[in-house]
Amino acid sequence: MDIFLQQVVSGIATGGIYASLALALVMIYQATDVVNFAQGEMAMFSTYLAWSMLNAGVPYWVTFFATVALAFLLGLVIERLVIRPVESAPILSIVIVTLGLLVIHNSIAGWIWSYIQKPFPSPFPSRPVHMGPIIVGAHDIGEISVTLIVLLLLFAFFRYTPVGLAMRAAAHNPVSSRLSGIRVSRMLMLGWGLAAAFGAVAGMMVAPIVTLEPNMMGGIQIYAFAAATLGGFTSPGGAVLGGIIVGVAENLVGTYVRFIGTELKLTVALAIIIIVLLVRPRGLFGRAVVRRV
């Protein structure tokens, strides 16, 4: 029983990592209708900016918020310079542009900071927390809390603020939004900025666990996609829950299903997602809407 609980808890912790980046993916999808393949790499890049600041002696929390602000700006600039020119191109062309951004970020980060992994500090205590027989890293708890806070912010932003509403409107129906006076391109820019900011938070929370290196987000983004797909790309809450489900399911399969073991862990997790999609084609919590022609 203890091992079961311990695996569940560590699955939740890992799921929290997936969820944090999944939130940024959901954010940008909600705001711009684009799946941004460069999200993880932008987060990694921002985390390097944070690392440089920390190295220069800037205190952690100053760095944290400065990085979030910088990432926001970076997102705005990327949207303005790179995405805006292809805004009216077919969606797949935009996806290819985000792939271009992915490789550029990865390559430049390696060029500037080298590929050698770097330790990244955690703002939380290093001593693990004991809950009965279960042991949890303090950073894991902190990281999940931060993810939940981001989720809350995101939810409140989209649900209760006029700008959040305008962003959703602009993403779903740009023509109609312009006819309602919404400056769609400004909303898209804002969407990129906010997603980049959330990504930066994810990066700074993930880096203490996986250590900072240019490829640190590669695997995580794959799982974040899985999480967002499972939860539904239109639902931030679903994405977080999706992340946790993937994390826990993977651990339990790896632990208890012996003939599969750890070697097919990922495959099984992916199979679960496909099965879920077959039952609920828009993810567990995605909104099913018939787009009328």
Partner: protein, 237 residues
């Protein structure tokens, strides 16, 4: 009384294809004008040109000021609401959110609250469904929502593109009755593009006819209704 909308020698293009070849007309405040014409004649194009959604040349004056160089969003902010063909519903937003999007360009909070009441009074069904996703509404309800969204701007000019498209006759009658009520109660000027010429002429006080991107006839609705050519071609009797 000075015109609220004056269009002079308006030309418009889709890509390299010219769709309007010098359209001119003007509208009095509080009036309802309808644009008649066959499919592809340039009716919808005229509305899109006014809202600056396509490339144009010529002058457009709204309330005396030129708007032909302005961006769509700025024209909307001046009080020109455009309900596009196909209704432009935000399927993945709730009914209430759709209406709130309509009020985006406004800054007067108390006024917005009043207008919510007004729209719900005009379209009680929207009040019933306000928490529902707009994508789940019927076609008629979506058209009501689209008009309601336009009204949330508290517009001075309402551009309506084919509000009857794809709707059952009874629903169409209901919507047109409400349009008349809106025009009478709040004095919104309406520019209406409509396939169903009989319906349009009954509602409008003025009308003009477009053929291949040019205005070929204009005058009071009654005049046009009695014109033989119009009767044969557009009214079918």
């Amino acid at each position: 009384m000075s015109a609220i909308l004056e269009v002079e020698n308006l030309q418009a293009w889709y890509g390299r294809t010219q769709a309007l070849h010098g359209v001119s007309f003007s509208m009095e405040p509080r009036g309802i004008t309808t644009i008649l014409g066959a499919n592809g004649a340039g009716k919808t194009t005229t509305l899109r040109a006014i809202s600056a959604m396509i490339r144009t040349a010529g002058t457009i004056r709204f309330d005396g000021a030129r708007i032909d160089r302005k961006a769509t969003e700025d024209i909307v902010a001046l009080g020109v609401a455009h309900v596009p063909q196909g209704r432009g519903t935000f399927m993945e937003l709730t009914v209430e959110e759709n209406l709130r999007v309509g009020a985006w360009a406004r800054r007067d909070r108390s006024g917005v609250a009043e207008d919510f009441d007004r729209v719900y009074r005009l379209f009680p069904v929207l009040l019933q469904r306000r928490r529902q996703l707009a994508g789940t509404l019927s076609g008629g309800e979506q058209q009501m929502l689209a008009v309601g969204r336009g009204l949330m701007l508290r517009p001075r000019l309402l551009l309506l593109d084919e509000p009857s498209l794809g709707l059952a006759p009874l629903v169409v009658q209901e919507i047109f009755a409400i349009l008349r009520r809106i025009n009478q109660e709040s004095g919104v000027t309406i520019l209406l593009v409509e396939q169903n010429a009989r319906l349009a002429l009954a509602l409008a006080d003025r009308a003009f006819l477009i053929e291949t991107g040019r205005v070929v006839m204009s005058g009071a609705s009654a005049e046009l209704t009695s014109d033989d050519a119009i009767r044969r071609a557009y009214l079918g009797y």
